[in-house]
Amino acid sequence: MATKLPLTDAVVVGLGWAGAIIANELVDAGLKVVGIERGPWRDTAKDFNIASVTDELRYAQRQELMLRTAQNTITMRNTPSQTALPMRKWGSFHPGNGTGGAGNHWAGITFRFQPEEFRLRSHLEERYGADAIPDELSLQDWGTDWDEMEPFYDAFEKVAGTSGRAGQLKSGQQPGGNPFEGARSSDYPTPPLKQPYSPTLFADTAREMGYSPFPVPSSLVSEAYTNPLGVTMGPCTFCGFCTNYGCANYSKASAITTVLPALIRKENFEARTHCEVLEVTTDSDGRRATGIIYVDSAGRRWEQPAEIVVVAAFTFENVRLMLTSNIGQAYDPATRQGTTGRNYAYQTANNVQLFFDDKNFNPFIGAGAVGMGIDDFNNDNFDHAGLGFFGGGSTRVTPIGAAPINARPTPPGTPRWGSNWKRATVDNYKSTMSIGCEASNYSSPNNYLSLDPTYRDRLGRPLLRITFDFTQNDLRMAQYVTDKTAEIARRMNPRQIVANPRTGPWDGRPYQSSHVVGGFVMGADPSNSSVNKHLQVWGVPNLFVVGASAFPQNPGYNPTGTVGALAFKAAYGIVNRYLRNPGEMMS
């Protein structure tokens, strides 16, 4: 069985954004910390060399940086009555692996959630009436608020060097930024990126129509930047090999470019890679985490005892680990009892394509987070009275590059091969652009995570099972925001517009977004949440579970800024409250 190792102060599971940030804060507080990572140690110079990262086959098609499904995958179904089957190749989302995690191949878009989001149920009931939220939605408050979250967003942006233009500072509204954002204690650490043609055209048109375009906040830095940990990043060069790729320029913020280079040099930290955690162990009455069991790449099992256990893997593995470790009660959609696996949510991705005859967008110039956006149709920034849905989306043009195995837009009805296919491919390659609308996804009682009864991973453990479909609320919202986006597109006067609102059922095959959230959510009430506002597990006070798994529902924004902020928030709670008085921080 497992060989027992010496006790450590804290063990951190997962060395992506959340795990690296927390480990660094705990080490700085004087704790001895062991980080456990199931994938390899990744390093920019070694893994993302400038001479070889521009390889679409390797990184986008063969998914080099992503978790290999042979190691671990999920099973999926749309409804509780179906039999879930394994996702054998990643499609809808792209979980990462190795130090840096999915933060190596992310796009870099770094929004803060708006103040209303942290008390969404209360906010909607106040604005639209106590009975306004339909039964199909299990929306809830986060148990925290903007004033508590803001300093941690600020801390994350300063570590990541996030570029952008403030729209709301505590001192007042700023021109050219996002007027809908919560008041900020400071401006972005680096100025906005330069903009290519398609976002510029979109922003000009949106402005003419009375909307408020702003540079998309981006953790691809716009100039050389040294963060508070003393780590230096270089400016983004818009190479167009960004989302799905690692960055060779030290421009894209990730744990490996902003935190781990400093953390690994600190005496009280060590990282164990190629080690997969099997279980969080607890004492006999389940009131205290005693450590973790992990297996190394030789198949040897180790027990790492720890005074504090922090689980900070990707959403899926956070929840699976809690289910396999019997932490909390597993959620049952029939009774709606239990919290582990509850309120799994996703993102509702929509887009509108614009085919022009007379424009050259040079689409190969791009980056995951360069672009212009508007939030006029996002979240509750517009009046939902009488619309029949809640929520909305972040509408924006972010040209990510145009490597041609994947980026070959042609109008519907074009043949997929032969000379006519080739002609249409050439004609549209440089003259097509797209407006995306990354929209909210609101949790629902039948959307949840559980252990699969049939399919197991290579170590014999049950795969995580996703039961998910888009709600009527979200499908109506998708149609509405896509119609609004198409109005802007029409005004831009292309030859042809193709609107693609998200429709059901949820399809595991085409990539939509890696923004999988919930399943171990935060809140003020142990009956409908798993962790309190300090990310501390209810009833197991020395166990912290951190990541997008804590989101009770997903607004129309990318999650990483909030994941980073929650990591700082959890670390702050541990260092400033828990260590002084170990025990439940909320009663």
Binding site: P40, T54, T69, S297, A298, A402, R509
Partner: protein, 255 residues
């Protein structure tokens, strides 16, 4: 704690990786034995290019996966999916069959990175590919079944048919108007189409896209890494000459 035993180089960890991190403490999870997991403490060392090298395909090496007969069929397919015309040479001439051959001979051919545990059962379309067949098996079975079909219906192997007839058969496969023996015809067709396009548009390193033919056709500049001076030159033809990971042919010219 210092490493006590030399870790074995396997389990997804190459010997080179181990050597590359020699300054880290290799503690084998702090215990004796042949554990390969690595413990890092202090400044990790690295060797340039240790993790990044992809061996360029050697086009002269002969078929690595296909038989001669299979290769002829694949070439006869890819030159119709991507025909020669005023825009480019054909998929065959660009090396798409060589690309597919080398992919099938490698990790991709056996789906080595993918979850291939059963039970295998058909699901909803949204649940995606649930076939137990690897790409290598799909080609092996599908190519034989295609030739069987052509012998039955047209008294010849696929590769022996006229271009128009091959186009007609490929359309019928695409639209599921032909049922092949032992393999779902759409599963087979979609894989061949996907791999052909991968080969045509991927870096020439992998054996297709000879001399960056598809990139020149589209105006895709390839493996460039800095557009800071160009990003604000809107709606302008920048006229880049493409470059691949391996450079480009005129770089090799003797001056």
């Amino acid at each position: 704690m210092k490493k006590r035993d030399e870790p074995a180089a396997s389990g997804g960890l190459t010997r080179r990786e181990l050597l590359g991190s020699s300054a880290a403490l290799l503690v084998g999870a702090a215990a004796p034995g042949a554990a390969q997991a690595l413990t890092f403490q202090g400044t990790p060392e690295w060797k340039p290019l240790a993790n990044v090298a992809v061996e360029p395909v050697d086009e002269s090496a002969g078929w690595q996966f296909f038989t001669e007969e299979e290769a002829a069929t694949v070439e006869a397919i890819v030159e119709r999916l991507i025909p020669a015309d005023d825009l480019s040479i054909s998929g065959k001439e660009a090396g798409c069959a060589i690309f597919i051959d080398r992919q099938l001979a490698g990790a991709y051919g056996g789906f080595e990175r993918l979850y291939m545990h059963g039970p295998f059962q058909d699901g909803t379309p949204e649940q995606g590919d649930q076939s137990p067949l690897t790409p290598g098996q799909r080609y092996r079975i599908g190519l034989a079944a295609l030739d069987d079909h052509c012998r039955r219906e047209h008294d010849a192997r696929f590769a022996e048919l006229e271009a128009d007839r091959r186009d007609q058969i490929l359309s019928q496969l695409e639209q599921e108007q032909i049922q092949l023996d032992d393999i779902d015809s759409q599963l087979f067709f979609e894989l061949v189409l996907t791999n052909t396009m991968e080969g045509f548009f991927a870096d020439p390193l992998y054996g297709g896209n000879r001399d960056m033919v598809s990139w020149k056709m589209l105006g895709f500049p390839g493996a460039r890494y800095d557009y800071r001076d160009y990003i604000e030159r809107h709606n302008e033809d920048l006229e880049f000459t493409p470059v691949s990971i391996g450079g480009r042919s005129d770089w090799q010219a003797q001056g």
